[in-house]
Structures are given as C-alpha cells and as structure tokens.
C-alpha cells in the first residue's frame, strides 16, 4: 500500500493524474483491502480446528478404546454438530475469509458424519466388515451433497467427489468376489463424469471440479492397468487425454489443457514400457518415451496459444 501511495504521489507530481483521482484510487484500494479482523478470525479458526484435530488424535490414541460406544458417539456427534452450526453461522458472513472458514468447518463435519457412522456401525450395530463401508460412505455422501448444494466452495466439492468415489466403490465391494482390480476403471468413470458435469456447469466450482476429475482420470487407468495387468486401460487413459486436449481448445480452458498434457505424460511412457521394454530394452524404451514426450510438449505449447487466444 505504501508503494501505491508513493507511486500515486509521483504520478500526481508528474501531472499524470489529479489530486481527486489520487483520492479516488486511494479510497477504492482501501475498500478492496481484506478486513484484518476477518483474516484473524480465519487464521484462529484454522488454528483452532487443527488443535482440535491434534487433541482428538491424542485423546483417541490414549483413551478411545476405554470409552463406551455411546460416549464415542456422543463425542463425535457433538463435535460434528458444532462444526455444522459454526459453519452455518460463518457461511452467512459478508467476509470472504469467514466464508472460507465456513467451508473448512463444513468439510470437517462431513468427516465427522463418516466417523459417527463408523462408530455406530462397528460399535453399536456390529455390522459386518463389508456393510460398515456402506454405513460410513452413504451418509457421508448425502451430507456432502446437502452441504455442497447451497455452498459450492472448493472443499465442499472435494468432499462431494471424494464421497461419491467412496460410495460407489463401497457398493461394489458388496459384490462377491470383490472386483478390486477394476476399481481403477470406476475411478476413471467418476473422473470423466466430473469433467463432463463441470463442463455442463452442474458441478461447481468449475475449476476445482475439472481438477478433481482430471486427477481421477490420471489415477484410474494406471490403477486398472496395474491391477488387471493389461494395456487397454492405459489406451483408454491416452484416449481421454486426447479428448481433454481437443476440449481444451474448443472450450479455451487451460485446466483441461494442463490435465490432457499431464495424462499424456502419465500414460504414454507406461504404454511404451508395456510394449517395448522386453523387445527394445529399458534404455531404448526410455529414449523413445523422451522423444515422444518432447513432441507432445511442443504440441502442447502450440495448443496453449490456441487456448489462450490472440
């Protein structure tokens, strides 16, 4: 701010702007500055949350197993309700910093709901190990959805997408035998759906939703390729990468360009190693990967100009 004042004074002395304009700019910038009390509240909120988590962790390590189920439920329940109530109160604040705090508190409350149902299903209901997964993930998903609908912030969509993965995978885990090797494909499917829903302005914030979808698209096929010991999931990943690159140009969306390029960098070397490691050897496969990645990097640099536009 001092730099701005100095510059304004220098510009006024040079006859570039008038005194009125200096005052107007100063007033405008002062109004745009973040409220210090809100910032302090946010920092204190995060600090308090972190301390509470550490304290809970220490408490759990020492005394958790000595508590009756009802006491465990009461403890997690009270904390979760406190997070929910505090988040609801903070959400209505006019300050962006306090609303970020609300987002964090509601994120914690989703974890609290998952923990509460974990204790309920294992301690009180004595559910089977498979059923426990559904007992935890379904309520967490519902709460994440309910909290995301009115408050579409970064952490809310993270909780929602994470819970969506968990609920689908835990539902599949009920099948006998559990298709663990295929879980990567489910992750890819949900990731692709996330990108599509972000494109359709359904899943918000858009940038975060694209990012979450891309992470799943990067992870899923790699997991499936390893689990199934086959190359086709990697081809699917590469195909998705190409689709992301094409979409990045038509939508002029930088996140998709970065994601598509990242996917090419992840899947292309894996495919080259899959097919050529045994025939050409590791050094040649590495060299081939390097050459192809340089070509992709040049292509991405060219695409970047297309995405950012003139």
């Amino acid at each position: 701010m001092r730099d701005l004042d100095d510059n304004l004074e220098r510009w006024r002395a040079g006859g570039l702007i008038s005194r009125e304009q200096v005052d107007a700019i100063t007033e405008f910038e002062a109004a745009a500055r973040p409220d210090r009390s809100s910032l302090i509240a946010e920092v204190l909120g995060y600090l308090g949350g972190a301390l509470a988590i550490v304290a809970l962790w220490v408490f759990m390590a020492e005394y958790w197993n000595d508590l009756e189920s009802w006491a465990q439920l009461a403890l997690i329940g009270v904390l979760t309700l406190a997070f929910l109530a505090a988040g609801a109160w903070a959400r209505t604040s006019s300050s962006e910093a306090v609303r970020r705090l609300a987002s964090f508190l509601w994120f914690l409350s989703v974890a609290g709901v998952a923990g509460w149902f974990a204790v309920l299903s294992t301690g009180s209901l004595d559910a089977s190990s498979k059923a426990v997964a559904l007992w935890i993930t379904v309520p967490a998903f519902v709460v994440a959805l309910v909290l995301w609908l009115p408050f579409r912030k970064l952490l809310q969509v993270v909780a929602l997408v994470g819970a969506a993965h968990a609920v689908v995978l835990s539902a599949l885990a009920q099948v006998e035998p559990v298709p663990f090797d295929w879980f990567g494909m489910i992750i890819w499917g949900i990731g692709t759906a996330c990108v599509l829903l972000a494109w359709g302005d359904v899943l918000e914030p858009t940038g975060t939703s694209y990012g979450l979808g891309i992470v799943a698209i990067l992870l899923g096929p790699s997991m499936a390729g390893t689990g199934l010991d086959q190359a086709w999931p990697l081809w699917l990943g590469l195909l998705t990468a190409a689709a992301l690159l094409v979409a990045s140009i038509s939508l002029r969306e930088m996140v998709l360009l970065v994601g598509g390029a990242g996917a090419v960098f992840v899947f292309l070397p894996q495919l080259i190693f899959t097919y050529f490691r045994d025939t050409l050897g590791v050094p040649v496969a590495l060299f081939l990967s390097g050459v192809l990645l340089i070509a992709v990097a040049l292509l991405v640099a060219r695409l970047k100009r297309e995405v950012t536009g003139p």
């Binding site: 035998p177 295929w182 494909m185 489910i186 890819w188 599509l196 359709g200 302005d201 010991d229």
Partner: protein, 233 residues
C-alpha cells in the same frame, strides 16, 4: 438439448457403462465344488484339523470324509501351523510367551494336555512345506496366477502332473497343498479359506470339506496307524 442436460446425460452414460463393464467382466464367479458335508465319502479315512479365519482364531476339526465341523477351542491358537502326533493329539505352536512351545491338544476335549519347548529353528516339523512331500519324494506344488490356478505333483526326474486346476477371479489361488498321511489324498486350502480334498491323481475330483479356514495356514490330516509329526521332547 442444452449443455447441462447433455453433460448430465453423458455422465450417467459413462458411469453406467463402466459399472456394467465391471459387473460383466470384473465379477468372475469363484469355482464351485461339490460338498462332502452334503455327500460324505466313507472311503476317505481320518480327521482334518484346521485353524479358522475367526478373530480370535479357533481350532476346528472335521471328518476327512465329510461331516459337521467341530470347534475345539478359540483364542489360544496363536499361529497357523498344525500337525498331529502318531497318538492322535493335535500339535500347534504357541508364540505368545517369551519361549515358543508346542501345545498338544486332545481332539476329544479340546484341552491342552502338554506343552513342550519348541526349537523354532530348522527343521520345522509343523511347516506345511514338510507336509507337502510324500514318502516317495513326490512334492505338491501350488501354481498359477491371473485367474488360473493349479495344484501339481512333482515326482523327482519327471514332468509335473496337474491334479487340480481352476479358473476364477484374478486373485483366486490354491495356497497350500498337503498330503494325507497315507499319500492317497491331497488336502488343498484355497484363497477363500475353503478346504478341498482331491485324489492323489486328480480323481476323484476336488470336493469341499470345510469353509472358513485361515488363509496360508495348513490343515493337518490324521489317520490312525500312520506316523505323525515328530517334534522331539
């Protein structure tokens, strides 16, 4: 069709397509075996002891020819290796104290009748590897991967012969195979904790003796009159 509807429709299609693919191609049923409990075979002699997959693990016992499983005792069995003495006592090993010791358990009462200090170094009389070699040197080998698994008999200087093979999910396998004391039967524990009995040459084919056995832990077979495990002491 506006963009929102298109995005939702495409998402639903992608998720459904992946789910259908996983359920069709990813859920491969486990191989099924006829049950000896339902149709006992009196030609299979002796008794089989095994450790269950419960928490804490229990010591179970079942007639080798098929029948109901008897739970002998729970909680005291610390490890998975099992054997029988020539006198018909079940031997297991207790690692819970500072000094490892063999526990001799009466199969009639389930009580520990003796405890002998164990030398846990070589030789390991209770290790299932020692029970997978027959008196004539024929060794049982479990083999396979990626959805196909097999039990083979390897006679020295001969090609291994397959006596049992099965297709199933990628993680399905035959984990442990041991000979019956008379060498005419093979006891197999699969990755689902199922105990199977198969003839020495693969005939009669595998039949299900018991379920719920602990994985990677052998089941031990006793036939009166055949030598048991020698633990010294």
């Amino acid at each position: 069709m506006n963009r929102t509807v298109l995005a939702v429709s495409a998402s639903v299609v992608v998720i459904l397509a992946v789910l259908v693919a996983v359920l069709v191609f990813g859920v491969i049923p486990l191989p099924d075996y006829p049950s000896l409990a339902d149709h006992p075979d009196a030609s299979i002699p002796g008794t089989v002891a095994f450790i269950t997959d419960d928490n804490p693990p229990c010591l179970g016992m079942v007639p080798a020819g098929g029948g109901p499983t008897t739970e002998l005792r729970c909680g005291v069995v610390e490890v998975g290796t099992l054997g029988w003495t020539s006198e018909g006592l079940i031997i297991t090993i207790d690692f819970s104290s500072m000094t490892s010791r063999y526990l001799l358990i009466d199969p009639a009462s389930g009580e520990v009748v003796d405890a002998i200090a164990a030398d846990v170094d070589e030789p390991k009389p209770l290790a299932w590897e020692s029970q997978s070699t027959r008196a004539d040197g024929a060794v049982l080998i479990t083999d396979g991967g990626r959805g196909t698994t097999a039990v083979k008999v390897h006679v020295p200087n001969e090609e291994p012969t397959t006596i049992l093979s099965a297709d199933g999910p990628q993680d399905y396998s035959f984990d442990v195979a041991t000979w019956s004391p008379d060498g005419r039967w093979v006891l197999v524990v699969d990755s689902e904790g199922r105990i199977l009995v198969v003839g020495e040459s693969g005939t009669p084919a595998a039949r299900l003796l018991a379920e719920g056995a602990s994985r990677w832990m052998n089941a031990a077979w006793y036939i009166p009159g055949y030598p048991g495990v020698d633990i010294g002491g």
